[in-house]
């Protein structure tokens, strides 16, 4: 067991865990932030997506020992007290059904729009390909990202 100091959503947290513990489990079990979900444990489904220094990563594949001083953002920290524009777009397009994949989808979408503020449909499809949705909300995810892109530059 080692002690790790993690900067999560602007706040410092201490975690006494094994160094190889995936960040996903530290977030969920140690820190208690359960908005980030476990889907496959193999980096294949995208449900565990968080940001490290603003970039989307699969937290089930990140050993906590490798995080260091990087800023972690989870779905809980996205809105800064309100709703992030992507979350607003998600509501406007009524994207979620069961909701399980949606934290990961939103985190990935935010990261995508930071890299590409005006993504083409092909770019949306490519960048979001790692996030599975079994309920089949893909058409609405596309529209929400396009809406957020329009409204962020409006």
């Amino acid at each position: 067991m080692s002690r790790f100091m993690l900067l999560i959503n602007g706040t410092s947290h201490n975690a006494d865990v094994e160094p190889e513990t995936p960040l996903l489990w530290v977030l969920r079990d140690t820190v208690g932030l359960t908005g980030t979900k476990y889907g496959c444990g193999m980096g294949l489904c995208g449900a565990c997506t968080v940001h490290l220094d603003g970039k989307a990563v699969r937290s089930c594949q990140i050993p906590v020992t490798s995080v260091g001083a990087k800023k972690i953002t989870t779905i809980e920290g996205l809105g800064k007290g309100g709703l992030h524009p992507v979350q607003k777009a998600w509501i406007a397009e009524q994207v979620p059904q069961c909701g399980y994949c949606q934290s990961g989808q939103i985190m990935q979408a935010v990261s995508l729009l930071r890299d590409k503020p005006h993504p083409t449909l092909d770019e949306i499809n490519t960048e979001m390909a790692g996030n599975i949705c079994r309920c089949g909300t893909y058409q609405r995810i596309r529209r929400a990202i396009q809406r957020a892109a329009r409204e962020q530059t409006a």
């Binding site: 496959c40 444990g41 193999m42 294949l44 009524q94 089949g136 909300t137 058409q139």
Partner: protein, 251 residues
């Protein structure tokens, strides 16, 4: 919606024997009351009759009058396909007004989800390498009163995406009494790049709401394989689609 009379097979065969020695086959076209069938298995309830007389042509007695909704078209199409009969030899006649036999004598043949055949023909079966990309799915839903139309759309879209996994990639295999698949690397599910454009058209209805939770998934497989047939003349009889079958077609 329609419910045909529950006549048993013995009665039906008796009836058909009266029709001058012709072979009469009754068959049941699913209507959107499937979900509302009682828990006890219904008796044989034909709502269309097929008469194959020795002198040809194949006569279909369809109880649903044609009002432009296509009932007198899709019935013979399905017959021609199943019988591998010459399409030109199929004749559809309006069933006689005999309510004792034909209990569903009205135009309401709305069915469940009707995927547009023309659109699916343009679904883009990549016959060269056999890979199928479904580019667009068009769906018409008659679910009675759509209490929340956007909810109906969401459920239909979701069901279509869900079923496409089964059609395109989802396969479970058993070896030594164990399922071989374990995660998304060996059980691929539909991802956003392969998810088609989807149009949902809700048929205006004041019938009681009938629910759409499972509807979207129902006709995706037939629609996709029928589109593949239209594009390649290859019949797919097993899911998920085997690209090798389409590659062989050489079209």
């Amino acid at each position: 919606m329609s419910r045909s009379a529950a006549i048993d097979r013995r009665q039906f065969i008796k009836k058909s024997a009266e029709l001058a020695g012709a072979l009469v086959i009754g068959f049941y076209l699913p209507s959107n009351t499937e979900g509302a069938l009682p828990s006890s298995a219904p008796k044989f309830t034909p709502n269309a009759w097929l008469v194959i007389a020795p002198d040809d042509p194949v006569r279909v007695l369809a109880e649903k009058p044609e009002l432009g909704q296509g009932s007198h078209t899709y019935i013979p199409m399905m017959i021609a396909e199943e019988l591998e009969a010459d399409w030109r030899k199929i004749r559809v006649e309006q069933a006689p007004t005999m309510p004792s036999i034909y209990k569903g004598l009205r135009t309401g043949a709305s069915g469940a989800v009707v995927n547009s055949f023309d659109e699916m023909r343009r679904a883009g079966a990549q016959a060269r390498d056999g890979t199928v990309h479904v580019v667009r799915v068009t769906s018409a839903v008659d679910c009675g009163l759509a209490v929340n139309p956007d909810g109906v759309r969401a459920m239909t879209e979701g069901g279509i995406n869900f079923a496409l996994t089964a059609v395109l990639t989802g396969e479970i295999t058993i070896k030594d009494s164990t399922v071989e698949q374990s995660n998304f690397h060996d059980y691929p599910v539909l991802r956003i790049p392969d998810s088609p454009a989807i149009d949902v058209h809700i048929v205006h209805s004041l019938e009681p709401p009938s629910g759409v939770g499972e509807l979207g998934a129902m006709l995706v497989a037939p629609a996709v394989v029928n589109a593949i047939f239209a594009a390649t003349a290859v019949r797919i009889r097993r899911l998920p689609i085997d690209a090798a079958l389409l590659k062989k077609s050489g079209s």
